[in-house]
């Protein structure tokens, strides 16, 4: 499976350019799409699931143009939108039944078995008769992913799936996706939460203001940040000076001052020690330096 995106552009009727010259190839496995709010992630996703028409460029899935093969694309795709609410008057299993039937699962017996299986795997089996709108936020998300997966899609596109989830729910959710990512499936995970990607994706892209600013593995991105993440103990006065110049990642009170981590060149007048970077550091570094640099 391969999704190939070439010179993709999307301009809204008001003239706002949401995507600009995106070129990207996505293969099997988990693919993370990272970027701040308004970067164009959701637009890209909606184009991929055929809910939106792009302005120019081309998107193919295994060589099929998604513009001319919408039915085939829709058969392949499972989609969990960003702000997902349910039909308020359907039970959990009914909702899954609805989407499964539309997904082409016509055999009633198989469908019901699949629904039970999905409900079990997302931990909602005992809530199968509860009205969907009566589920907690995490349960709703899980039901959402269940409906995306119910018809065994080969491409799963999830938009900001962990927003608003508690840590436990979030870990569970990531694990669920990781399990799927091992099969012959493309999973595209769009998020602005770096942790979601660092723990699950082997490939990723960074979007900002409609443009693709990075594509590769999360490790490469982290590696580029090595030597740029620092830790130091500072007084209040130093901290005030420092935070105007450097993006401060963490601040912990210690003794008379603060134990802080920040990203950037090593400052001369402060005793700072280098810290091994992670994806979050890399993302902040990119946001602060490369993007600005690009802009210039």
């Amino acid at each position: 499976m391969e999704i190939r995106i070439s010179n993709l552009e999307k301009t809204y009727p008001g003239g706002f350019k949401a995507l600009n010259n995106i070129n990207l190839t996505i293969g099997n496995g988990m693919f993370g799409l990272l970027g701040p709010n308004g970067a164009g992630k959701s637009t890209l996703m909606r184009i991929l699931v055929t809910l939106m028409q792009h302005t120019s460029g081309e998107v193919t899935i295994d060589g099929m143009d998604i513009n001319t093969h919408r039915r085939e694309v829709r058969r392949m795709v499972g989609y969990l939108p960003q702000d997902f609410r349910f039909f308020t008057r359907l039970r959990s299993w009914e909702f899954l039944d609805y989407t499964a039937r539309l997904g082409g699962m016509n055999n009633k017996k198989e469908r019901h078995a699949r629904i039970d299986e999905m409900l079990t795997s997302v931990g909602l089996y005992e809530f199968r008769n509860r009205m969907a709108n009566k589920l907690s936020g995490g349960m709703k998300r899980r039901l959402g992913i269940a409906q995306a997966l119910i018809a065994s899609p080969r491409i799963i596109i999830v938009d900001e799936p962990t927003t608003g989830l508690d840590p436990e729910e979030r870990i569970r959710f990531r694990n669920l996706l990781s399990d799927l990512g091992r099969s012959d499936t493309i999973i595209i995970l769009s998020t602005h939460i770096v942790g979601d990607i660092s723990s699950t994706c082997n490939q990723m892209a960074l979007l900002n203001e409609g443009e693709l600013v990075y594509r590769g593995t999360p490790d490469e991105l982290v590696e580029r940040t090595r030597g740029c993440v620092w830790s130091a103990e500072v007084t209040q006065e130093q901290y005030d000076q420092l935070k105007d110049v450097y993006p401060v990642i963490s601040t912990i009170p210690s003794g008379a001052g603060w134990e802080i981590q920040f990203v950037g060149e090593k400052p001369a007048h402060i005793d700072a020690r280098e810290v091994p970077p992670n994806l979050e550091h890399a993302y902040v570094h990119y946001m602060e330096n490369n993007f600005k640099h690009w802009d210039l």
């Binding site: 809910l51 001319t68 919408r70 989609y79 702000d83 997902f84 359907l90 539309l102 082409g104």
Partner: protein
């Protein structure tokens, strides 16, 4: 490929989601509850009326009709709500991202809603069915349970859902869509209604769809067209929704398909609409053409049809008619062309005469026959016409205006078609109006506007009906054993009806008259109410008939038979303003609507319960038989032998509405009255010159022309005064040409009342009656012409009738009466007190007139209603003549009501209170009314009076109203061509407006002007020329009795309690406390005078004394006042000694 599975999946879950919404549940429960109550109240409740359930199909019909309106509104909300949710929330994106096409999605959604609402309709129909099964007197019409949801609910839902979806996509705002659609529904229900023949009625709310138990729908093709329009447009909208749905289509080519389907269905719906409209337009065009043809041949001399031997064969809806007519030429010239009318739906195959085939030409209803050699004066001829076809109902009632024809006939909400004849394979009903056999001459035309009085001809009729059907027609009937029935009417007839239906016959003979009831099997809903009457029925029937003949009419039933024939509920003959005859009654026949629908006198169940209740309240003092006797009498007397009157606002009979179709006054007179069997179908005085004479005689025989001593205290002008004013301006024939049916009826009544009372006055009432009744008896079933009648009348009394009739031709002035203040004297003779009233009456008008004086004196019952004795005097006074009258009474008259009948007086009737008599001796106690030299002078010597009707009066009207208000006011004016209004204490026009009331000042027209208060720019001015300088008292006339009513003062705190001129306990003087601003002016200067209406005199009020030079003097009144209105009537200058 279309995936039905997807459609069904969406439908199932949409239905599920919708069904679980509270909104839908509450709506459904409410609808069920309301319809349960409706079914209880309208059909099942013990006191429920019979009419709605007389037609069994009405039970499902009314239920479907009601739920249809309710769900149209809810469907709009739900449909727009659904799409709103689709647009805003991501839930739908989960569905949109699935492999389902837009078409499948929208179709599924529509189907889901449709299934749910159809389920609701089914639930309601099941409830209706339970009611239906419980009602023992109403069988289940299964077909109706299937047809109504299909014809009403499905097209309505399809259309409104499609439209809601589509508008939502176009407007992209739920609120706007909802408001637009609600507005549309409101417009449909309250404005469009049945406009364009019901084309705009998408809910079918007004469209006639009553399903008769005899013929089913009256016009199923039109119903299919009308409903088809909305079904197809609904589908078109659904395709448009699919095409324009804001979701990327699955495959591009479907876009084109959907667009094409949208256009195709829209065009198909539009075409059906066009066909529907065209069908009705064709009917209208046809009718216009029929009239044009009649116009062209209106004056053509005609042959008389002496006899007509008809043979009819029924072939489904089609009939074959062979007519052998014997003709006579009573004209002075030879007839080369014989003019007949025959239904335009008939084709004439051939016409033969004694010498073989005869040339003819048929165009529409006109049949022109050219026999070789023509028909010589005094000659006779026999022709046989062979014709066939389906009679076209458009030919009937060409004179009935469109407004009347299209007015709705409804049973509760169920609209009933109005068919002048029935052509159904199972039921044929043909009357003369349908021109089903050839009639000499042409019908209604706009050249003569003649109400046709038909000749009497001898008829025979043989009928071969369709299988299982039985024909009904006048005359002795014989069946030949091979399915052909021969009817031989004993008398010549002016109309021959023919009914063929699936009848069973119930018969009995009473007093040598055969009574037959023809009705469909199992339609006898009435016999069971009279189990104890089988022995006495004959006596009761005879009694009721005798009472009517001896006490009411003094005319006798001339036929041997009386057939009551059940007709489909859709049969509807129209009434005419110039006659009380309605085709519901035919020779030997009265049509009754199926199972008595619409006749409250046939509501035996309800009437019997009422009777039983009253009996219980009276301790069961009456036996079952007595109660049944009353019930039967009530039915016979009120249905057939009623004496309900026509003029005076709608038909009422003894306080009960007989015809209870809920909307519109369909008949102003009882169409089932047997009266035409005594007059209209027995005699008729025809006249080309005086066509209304027959109607006048008819009204006289039926109701008489009672001179009503009543007077309206409301003011304004009455219907009879309106008719008088119309007769002043136009002749009777010109009034006929106008479409105002009430005016025509009133004008005939006013003229008839005038002429008959004048003839009474000339020859004596009993002499007149005696002449008339013997005359009609002697001339029964023959043609009578006016000139023949007048000659015979002249021979008997030496009195001409035509001068009175000429008075009704155009350009004749009306009489106008001046009545002096009566002198009221009390004196004595040898027997006791004698009261003398002396008065002078002048006719200042242009022609001779009648004036009635009714004196009322307290009788044994005091002043209360019915307690007054009355004495009446009627005088005929020539134009420009004056009479001095002395009237003598032996008890004290208290009120004199003057009724000027047909005159230019406004009001035409007014009362004078005779308060206290002067005691003095009177030498001559003879009554007299002798000619006087001098006319009545309303004024005292030396006084100068200027009334608002006089030349010396003028006014300035300025309106500061907004354009909208002006427009509304002007529309009010337009609606009323004759312009004397009633004073309304709550609303006064912004410009000076004429009002009339007997309390106002005036010679023959007692009127004033009224205007709303304002800034003083509206002024009224009375001016005169003073011949002598000097001091004069200036009086103004305040018609207090005409200014009663509620408190009209805006911003006035006072005015409650007993008003200045108000009568104790009656309405109070409405203008109390208002201050009028007068200006009294001459060339010596002007003086402002304020006059407060605190306790004004009801009449002349002194403004003050002023000096005037021998020059122009004037008084001006402005509308600048603290009250709400200003009334300007008359001003009087009285010289000061």
């Amino acid at each position: 490929m279309i995936n039905l599975n997807n459609i069904w999946t969406v439908a199932v879950y949409e239905r599920k989601t919708l069904f679980r919404s509270w909104f839908f549940r509450i709506f459904s429960i409410l609808t069920l509850l309301i319809l349960f109550s409706m079914n209880m109240g309208v059909f099942a409740e013990p006191g429920a009326r019979w009419t709605p359930r007389a037609i069994p199909a009405n039970i499902p019909y009314l239920n479907v009709l009601f739920v249809n309106v309710a769900q149209a509104v809810i469907a709009v909300f739900l449909a727009s709500d659904f799409l709103r949710r689709d647009k805003k929330l991501d839930t739908t994106e989960v569905i949109y991202a699935r492999p389902i096409s837009n078409g499948e999605y929208v179709t599924g959604k529509t189907l889901g809603i449709m299934i749910l609402f159809t389920g609701l309709v089914v639930a309601i129909l099941l409830m209706a069915l339970v009611f239906n099964l419980i009602l023992k007197d109403t069988p289940v019409e299964w077909m109706a349970y299937l047809l109504y949801p299909l014809l009403i609910s499905i097209p309505t839902l399809t259309f409104i859902l499609g439209l809601s979806f589509f508008l939502m996509i176009l407007l992209r705002s739920q609120a706007v869509t909802f408001i637009v659609l609600l507005g549309y529904i409101g417009l449909t229900l309250f404005y469009f209604k049945d406009k364009l023949n019901g084309l705009l009625d998408y809910m079918g709310f007004y469209y006639p769809m009553v399903y008769s138990d005899l013929i089913g729908f009256a016009d199923q093709n039109s119903i299919l067209l009308q409903r088809g329009v909305y079904f197809l447009l609904g589908i078109a909208c659904i395709f448009a929704t699919i095409r324009f749905l804001s979701r990327l289509p699955q495959t591009g080519r479907w876009n084109m398909v959907n667009l094409f389907a949208f256009l195709l269905f829209a065009a198909a719906g539009g075409s059906l609409g066009y066909m529907f409209h065209n069908q009705h337009r064709t009917h209208d065009q046809d009718r216009r053409e029929f009239v044009q043809i009649n116009n062209a041949w209106a004056h053509f001399p005609l042959a008389d049809v002496l006899s007509n031997d008809l043979a009819v064969e029924q072939k489904g809806r089609r009939i074959l008619v062979t007519s052998t007519v014997m003709l006579a030429n009573r004209n002075e010239e030879q007839l080369d062309t014989l003019v007949f009318s025959l239904n335009p739906g008939f084709r004439v195959d051939s016409i033969t005469g004694r010498q073989g085939a005869v040339e003819f030409e048929k165009h529409r209803q006109l049949l022109l026959v050219q026999p070789e050699g023509g028909l010589a004066p005094g000659g006779r001829m026999v022709l046989t016409l062979y014709s066939r076809g389906i009679p076209d109902p458009d030919i009937a009632y060409l004179d009935v205006p469109e407004k009347k024809r299209s007015s709705l006939k409804r049973i509760i909400l169920a609209t009933v078609d109005k068919l002048p004849g029935i052509m159904d394979p199972e039921y044929i009903l043909l009357t003369r109006e349908m021109l089903w056999y050839p009639l000499a001459g042409v019908g209604f035309n706009k050249v003569t506007y003649q109400p046709a009085v038909q000749d009497f001809s001898r008829f025979t009729l043989s009928v071969t009906p369709g299988r299982g059907l039985i024909p009904v027609a006048p005359g002795q009937v014989e069946e030949d054993g091979e399915g052909t029935y021969r009817f031989r009417p004993e008398q010549p007839l002016s109309a021959l009806p023919l009914v063929i239906g699936p009848f069973v016959k119930m018969s009995r003979t009473v007093d040598e008259v055969e009574y037959h009831i023809y009705l469909k099997e199992k339609h006898d809903f009435f016999s069971g109410f009279f189990p104890n009457l089988s022995d006495t029925l004959d006596v009761l029937l005879k009694e009721a008939k005798d009472d009517y003949e001896y006490d009411e009419l003094d005319l006798y039933y001339p036929f041997r038979r009386m057939n009551l024939v059940e007709t489909p509920v859709q049969f509807h003959p129209y009434e005419r303003p110039y006659s009380q005859y309605v085709e519901m009654v035919q020779p030997e026949m009265i049509f009754m609507p199926e199972r008595g629908a619409g006749l409250s006198t046939l509501d035996f169940n309800r009437l019997k319960r009422g009777e039983a209740r009253r009996n219980r309240e009276r301790n069961n003092s009456r036996s079952e038989e007595e109660m049944e006797t009353d019930l039967f009498r009530h039915f016979i007397t009120n249905t057939f032998f009623d004496t309900g009157t026509r003029v005076g606002g709608g038909f009422r009979s003894r306080g009960e509405d007989l015809i209870n179709y809920s909307v519109g006054n369909l008949y102003s007179t009882n169409p089932y009255s047997a009266f035409p069997l005594y007059y209209n179908l027995v005699a008729g005085i025809r006249s080309d010159e005086y066509p209304a004479f027959n109607a006048m005689i008819e009204t006289y025989l039926k109701e008489g022309y009672e001179i009503s001593p009543r007077e309206s205290f409301r003011g304004g002008i009455s219907d009879s005064e309106r008719a008088n004013l119309a007769l002043r301006d136009e002749g009777l024939l010109e009034i006929f040409a106008r479409k105002n049916q009430d005016l025509i009826a009133n004008a005939i009544y006013q003229s008839g009342s005038f002429i008959i009372n004048a003839l009474h006055n000339r020859v004596g009432r009993s002499e007149f009656d005696s002449f008339l009744y013997y005359y009609l008896e002697d001339h029964a079933f023959t043609d009578i012409t006016f000139s023949q009648f007048e000659n015979d009348f002249r021979d008997a009394f030496d009195v001409e009738i035509s001068p009175y009739m000429d008075f009704l031709t155009s350009g004749t002035e009306l009489p106008e009466f001046l009545v002096s203040a009566p002198e009221y004297i009390q004196t004595r003779d040898e027997y006791g007190d004698v009261y003398v009233v002396r008065m002078k009456i002048s006719n200042t008008g242009g022609s001779s007139g009648l004036i009635d004086l009714t004196f009322r004196m307290p009788g044994q019952g005091g002043f209360g209603p019915g307690g007054m004795d009355t004495e009446q005097r009627l005088y005929e006074i020539g134009a420009g003549r004056t009479k001095d009258a002395q009237l003598v009474f032996y008890s004290a008259p208290r009120v004199l009501t003057v009724n000027t009948l047909l005159s230019g007086n406004i009001p035409s009737s007014f009362s004078i209170f005779l308060r206290s008599a002067t005691e003095k001796s009177v030498a001559n106690l003879e009554e007299y009314a002798r000619d006087a030299e001098t006319a009545v002078n309303m004024y005292t010597e030396g006084e100068i009076v200027v009334d608002n009707e006089d030349r010396g009066f003028s006014f300035v009207s300025v309106s500061n109203e907004s354009k909208v208000k002006k427009f509304i006011d002007s529309r009010k004016e337009e609606n009323d061509r004759i312009n004397y209004h009633t004073m309304n204490p709550w609303w006064t026009p912004a410009t000076w407006t004429p009002v009339a009331h007997s309390a106002m000042f005036g010679q023959t027209i007692r009127s004033a002007l009224v205007v709303r208060s304002g800034d003083g720019s509206n002024t009224a001015r009375w001016h005169t020329m003073m011949e002598q300088a000097g001091f004069y008292e200036v009086h103004v006339y305040i018609p207090v009795s005409a200014m009663l009513g509620g408190s009209s003062g805006r911003g006035r705190g006072e005015g409650r309690g007993m008003g200045g001129g108000g009568r104790p306990g009656g309405p109070e003087f409405a203008d109390r406390g208002t201050v009028y601003h007068y200006t009294v002016a001459s060339n010596e200067g002007t003086e402002e005078v304020e006059f407060a209406l605190d306790r004004p005199e009801d009449g002349w009020n002194l403004l003050g004394t002023f000096h005037f030079p021998a020059d122009t003097a004037e008084v001006t009144l402005t509308n600048n006042t603290n009250g709400s209105r200003v009334v300007a009537d008359a001003v009087k200058w009285v010289p000061k000694e």
